[in-house]
């Protein structure tokens, strides 16, 4: 291997060579990481997710109709939808006069005010939407529009963060999204929608 690698590894081994007693790796039950509020609540599932998602300014929805109303009210008239969701979501919006694109064109990134893509699950304990490369039709479609709608159908609802970690799976790109993009850089004042969506929706279809 490379010279630089050898230099670094040698320096690290050298640094540790005199160490007599080393700290053992502690074993622990990941249960202890689950937050108390959740442990006591025992609600779980979608309801728990919804509550926690709303607490981080996310919007949990269960009806395409609700989505339609929201998009119209906020003046979103043209967006993108994962073609595999055309039937269940896209056409419903189209029928009500929204312009829905099923092909994501990279030079029109800023023309889509909403993006509808699939999520690979949610985490109830933290109100988190889980995305991965395989399920997300285009990374930009889930990130660039002002409104991102993450859709789950039969995808899992992980109860806790440790459970979601155990189920990270094989994807080399897993993203947890816990609310809309935000910053508090200027005087600690919270502003939503910095680079990513200013509105983060999760739509659960039965």
């Amino acid at each position: 291997m490379s010279e630089a690698r050898d230099t670094v590894m040698r320096a690290v081994r050298q640094a540790l060579s005199d160490l007599q007693e080393k700290t053992p790796l502690p074993e622990y039950d990941s249960e202890i990481l689950i937050c108390a509020k959740y442990r006591e609540g025992e609600v779980g599932g979608w309801l728990e997710f919804g509550e926690n998602f709303a607490a981080v300014s996310g919007r949990p929805l269960t009806e395409v109709g609700e989505l339609l109303v929201f998009l119209k009210e906020e003046g979103n008239d043209s967006g993108y939808c994962d073609p595999s969701l055309k039937e269940r979501v896209g056409t419903v919006l189209e029928e009500s006069g929204l312009k829905v694109h099923y092909e994501y064109e990279h030079d029109k990134v800023d023309d889509y005010t909403f993006g509808i893509t699939r999520a690979s699950g949610v985490i109830a304990e933290s109100g988190t939407v889980v995305l991965n490369d395989e399920d997300t039709v285009d990374r930009l479609a889930a990130l660039a529009p002002w409104v991102h709608v993450a859709v789950i159908e039969n995808e899992p609802i992980f109860e806790t963060i440790p459970e979601a970690i155990e189920n990270l799976g094989d994807s080399s790109n897993v993203i947890w999204v816990t609310g809309p993009s935000k910053t508090a850089d200027i005087e600690g004042i919270l502003i939503e929608g910095v680079h990513g969506p200013g509105v983060q929706i999760c739509l659960k279809l039965d």
């Binding site: 790796l25 990941s30 988190t128």
Partner: protein, 471 residues
């Protein structure tokens, strides 16, 4: 200036009121938020802190093994792994990766380690445009400033100053509404992303087990930098490794709460390879550069515990000295209590240059109490002080610490001293006469002394004097 004056004291004395107010109001809110969140969510947050400390201590003590594991896992997944022992070699490695792809426009997400190797200056000279995309870092960049806090880089600026910078740099007429500022930045940086051909990030953790690199941002800037172009380079300090994926859960829970009082940071990315075959956007190539740059020297020292640090910034927020000096007083990339330990150690042969920093502590123990990986910072500071004294370094020439140490080990004395103006006479650090101290006392943001581990440690160490004296 008085004889015992340290460079950091001079800095604090000359700091503008405006800056100090900006820093203070922000850290006070953050400290309160952090505590409330941890205590609401966990019956015994200390249990997690201690556990996380042990896991990380174990990791750094077996760093060679875990680095090799992480390297193997990443390589298997199609990422390219590099090592760099110095800042210079890291810069050259990164430049070469960019050159090989013909990349000349890079977007960066916030990374202290790229600050550490002065990457932007170097790349700009080589004809590579580097654009900081974290809002705070972007403002730092257009101002030609440096970050003054690990988590909140522009903590020292207020909105009027930011609005002026935006106006000066052609980002719209003066407007100091944070929402407007943010939207202007969004628009400006959106274009930069879409024109970019490389994305640079740091990493918060690397799981040795899976090679997964974890990057957290609230703004989504790292995610955008890894969606808008085809090349991802992550510069990662070798101490960022943790043993297992399972441990990521432990550290993420602590990081979000300690840094920003969030259960989880908004975007938490787990990445161990280039984009998948079905994915049209994002990096076709992923490079990870593991950086030593003095870390192996820290590892060899008795202060190696500092390598557990997960850069949450909590110790800065709670530190009475940081609150008076802002991060710039520490004259190095890492400020506050963690910086006071890390900067002199990372400096290697330049240790004397930073030998005054370990003195910039009231040893109140608050940094230790808040640290999510339970680093005994006061203990490490004392060791460095004694090293500086042994080496006869002048800037570390000591104001008498004994009276102060005595106070610091007695909650009663400490509180009385802190509220009595007479105490000023006994405080060794010349920060104390600084005017806003009064305001600071009024809002009672002083670290609450809980008679914690530091005090116990002091006792076990054989009384207060041995801690305070210059050995």
């Amino acid at each position: 200036m008085s004889k015992s004056s340290q460079p950091i004291d001079d800095f604090a004395r000359e700091l503008s009121r405006e800056t100090r107010d900006a820093v203070l109001s922000s850290v006070v809110t953050r400290t309160a938020g952090r505590k409330a969140k941890l205590e609401a969510d966990y019956k015994d947050p200390d249990l997690l802190r201690r556990l996380a400390g042990k896991v990380k201590q174990h990791t750094v003590e077996h760093l060679d093994e875990y680095l090799e594991q992480a390297e193997a896992a990443l390589t298997k997944n199609g990422a390219k792994v590099h090592f760099a022992s110095t800042a210079e070699s890291a810069r050259e490695t990164i430049l070469e990766i960019l050159r090989n792809k013909g990349a000349t426009r890079m977007v960066k997400s916030k990374s202290m380690v790229t600050e550490e190797i002065h990457l932007n200056d170097f790349l700009e000279k080589q004809g590579v445009e580097c654009v900081e995309t974290d809002l705070g870092e972007f403002i730092i960049q257009i101002d030609g400033d440096t970050p003054s806090h690990i988590v909140q880089p522009i903590i020292h600026k207020n909105r009027r100053q930011v609005a002026e910078s935006f106006e000066k740099h052609g980002l719209g007429a003066y407007n100091d509404d944070p929402q407007t500022i943010t939207h202007r930045a969004r628009k400006h940086l959106r274009e930069k992303y879409l024109q970019s051909d490389a994305g640079m990030t740091g990493a918060n953790f690397v799981s040795a087990e899976s090679g997964r690199i974890v990057i957290v941002t609230n703004e989504g800037n790292a995610r955008f930098g890894m969606a808008a172009n085809g090349l991802h380079i992550a510069l990662v300090g070798i101490e960022k490794v943790v043993p297992r994926d399972k441990d990521l859960g432990l550290f993420l829970n602590l990081l979000g709460r300690s840094a920003t009082a969030q259960q989880l940071t908004v975007y938490t990315q787990f990445i161990n390879g280039p984009r998948s075959k079905s994915q049209p956007s994002g990096p076709k190539e992923m490079h990870v550069v593991f950086l030593d740059n003095g870390r192996s020297k820290v590892l060899a020292s008795k202060e190696r515990d500092i390598l557990r640090c997960i850069r949450c910034g909590a110790c800065l927020n709670v530190c009475p000295v940081y609150r008076q000096t802002s991060g710039h007083g520490y004259r190095a990339v890492y400020g506050g209590p963690v910086g006071a330990v890390l900067s002199p150690l990372l400096a290697g042969d330049d240790f004397p240059k930073y030998a005054d920093l370990p003195k910039a502590s009231s040893l109140c123990g608050a940094c230790h109490e808040v640290c999510p990986v339970n680093i005994p910072i006061p203990e490490l500071l004392l060791r460095l002080r004694s090293r500086a004294n042994k080496e006869g370094i002048k800037s570390a020439g000591a104001p008498p610490m004994a009276p102060f140490a005595r106070m610091a080990t007695s909650p009663k004395l400490w509180q009385t001293a802190m509220t009595a103006s007479r105490a000023m006479n006994h405080l060794p650090i010349t920060m104390m006469p600084i005017q806003p101290l009064q305001a600071w006392l009024k809002i009672r943001t002083l670290p609450k002394w809980r008679g914690g581990e530091f005090r116990k440690w002091m006792k076990e160490r054989g009384g207060v004097n041995s801690g305070g004296r210059n050995e």
